[in-house]
Symmetry: D2
């Protein structure tokens, strides 16, 4: 699935439910932050080693995957409201990053 | 671009720069939150109407698109470290959401 | 209660429970962000008018107050670990802000 | 300084500058999250040991203290708008936590 297909799916999902009126830019930006907070909860107390061990449990892994998906879904809805093409945005940002941090040069 | 292609690109990008050693699960989760904070900054003071007006300016729109891209890039790197397939995760989460909120039923 | 009294209380609370070993700077910073995410949840869908109406309900108001308290508690623990005096930090920041934004001058 | 004194100070600060009209609950909640994102940036790449070493530098320590102060300032303004007394909120939350996690009982 690419971002345009994802956009079609999540917009159709919310239109079927009449939720569009709540999907203002501010509300969607807050929603992405709420979900990212829930994602962070999985990284709150364990060490990196414990986290990598914990995700061997499929239930734990799916719980984290769900939170990542929620953030991606809200970002897609936010981008849709603002007329932003995430596919294009990511491509452009990777190019910018490549110019900012050339291979072989250590960032400060 | 789909998530698997994005994953290949961002992992190649960081490998070329030797940044992998910093990309622990905790660090990447924090990084996604840092970038989401920068995204939120664009929604801090304006009303929804003012935000929709502001993104008519291509420079402002690109600035917001860059922040969305940064969050997506860090989530992709985080998912990679945890062995999570974002494409699959989003598909599964949309199905779960569909069962949780059937069309025609108002959520509380 | 001032910040020094709060610091004594929350440090005593966690020492009695032996939680100190989990209270590393990174873990506490993540914890503050997790709680701020829970706080944001109360501002996710309602308009400002609806939120101000909702907090007339003491249960709702206490739920929001609890989340604010949680963020403050984790920031206090984080400051403690780093040897930062929040009281001093807030005083100094207010002075800096006063110099940055003099009365009668409109910020850009 | 206790929270009531802090509240008086930050409210006076913003009234002198006529910023009250921007200080809606949603905007202030977003602002607290933006500042927490800036705080997180200091914990993004270093290990806990490196962070504790870094704060021995007074400039670095003050930079982190400033971000903690910013979050506290916005939470105080948010609480003010909602009629929440942070002092009372923190006292009550510590009592709740004490009942939820009695000394000598290990949380799951």
């Amino acid at each position: 699935m690419d971002f345009r297909e994802l956009e079609r799916k999540v917009v159709a999902f919310r239109e079927e439910r009449g939720w569009g009126i709540y999907h203002t830019p501010k509300n969607l930006a807050i929603s992405a932050a709420v979900e990212l907070g829930e994602l962070l909860e999985h990284f709150q107390w364990g060490s990196d080693g414990e986290i990598l061990e914990a995700v061997k449990d499929p239930t734990k892994k799916e719980a984290i995957a769900d939170e990542i998906a929620d953030v991606v879904i809200y970002l897609t809805l936010l981008a849709h409201e603002l007329g932003i093409d995430i596919d294009e945005a990511v491509e452009r940002k990777l190019e910018k990053n490549g110019r900012k941090y050339p291979v072989g040069v250590t960032p400060e």
